[in-house]
Subunit: 247 residues, 2 copies
Amino acid sequence: MPPPSAAPVVILVEPQLAENIGMTARAMANFGLSELRLVAPKNGWPKKGVREAASGATHVLDGAAIYATVPEAIADLHRVLATTARERGQMKRVFAPDEAMADVGARAGQRVGILFGRERVGLTNEEVSLADAIITFPVSPDFPSLNLAQAVLLVGYEWRRTAGLARLPFTGEMLSPPATREALLSLFASLEEALDDAGFYPPEKRDVIARNMRDMLHRMAMTEQDVRTFRGALRTLRRKRGDPAAS
Amino acid sequence: MPPPSAAPVVILVEPQLAENIGMTARAMANFGLSELRLVAPKNGWPKKGVREAASGATHVLDGAAIYATVPEAIADLHRVLATTARERGQMKRVFAPDEAMADVGARAGQRVGILFGRERVGLTNEEVSLADAIITFPVSPDFPSLNLAQAVLLVGYEWRRTAGLARLPFTGEMLSPPATREALLSLFASLEEALDDAGFYPPEKRDVIARNMRDMLHRMAMTEQDVRTFRGALRTLRRKRGDPAAS
């Protein structure tokens, strides 16, 4: 198993709104990205309100490096991808986020950066030409404009997913093993006896209905505990109804 | 090919911040979701600032339906998934967003809803128990708290992707077909002749260097136009250098 490649560097080019930069830091932290570079942030840096917008991901902001130009910001990297929503009229390979991040994962030991453009106008064609390839997002053509921090989130999500790091924080493990068929068939018998006694089935449809109810219980994929719970509920209902056969 | 299932309904339970609701509408529009339901929005509805935060996705806001309770909001649906970050101590199947949305795609003709909880405390255990299953996000355990609109974005992105609708707005089609091997080999010859004449190669390494340079050109995956451009640049450089062999 080759060593994992480093997480991509997120590079914001002339970002303007404190809220977007803060939300970018948060999105990065959510998916395990930590290296942020800002190229010539508009209206100064640091910005008022950016720490609040980062909602606790201030370590990403504190580690952010500031550069004057894109060439300086990408100098030490081995591969750069540029995010754009619009076709740029230049020869350029284009990847979806999942393809691009799977490719990053294959580049063990290489430093990869992703360029994100200005809120209103994105990246210039010149800046795009400095990147190896383009990432574009599979958005609805009716509403293609993604918020900056949302674009960063998607890239981070796909990186983590394609790097095999996308473990769920918890899984839906059954707390009890599946019931044996003996327990389940015994439950069928108890249920059908109770319903027979209660006069539930129309006589001409008795077997069909009983079998369809068995299918309901099959679909539950009952655990041992489920069977005990269901059996207990059934018994209690019979007792309440004054059914002498209830045990 | 079965008919596509309808896009899932996004249900926000007691959402508080106008900004989150607006950004949710925008995230939905980005990935082709349009049906939004709000259960008992905190501090009233509509909210000041929500239309600005929606950045043009006001059609989603205008179509939003308001409900007093979760049972009312999910009554007409056929399947509901609840997003949670924390394990809930109840038996529940748990899906990643991509698994959950692939499953939605398989349910042609069924209406599916996704519950998103309150900004601070998420969904209650009672609300979670009303859902068929849980969706949780593969976030970094160091920073698991996803912004509400970002969670909606991920679900929308995965729905579109697993539904086979994730077409990129443009692709990197080469503007010219690949060069034939005749054109490429001819270029090799021209380049090597020019470099021979210019005394570029150290004599003992001439063939090794020439072959490695051929590999550089192979890696370019040159199109017909690329070969013409490269050949023209080479010719111009030779002419400028006063090379009588340049043609």
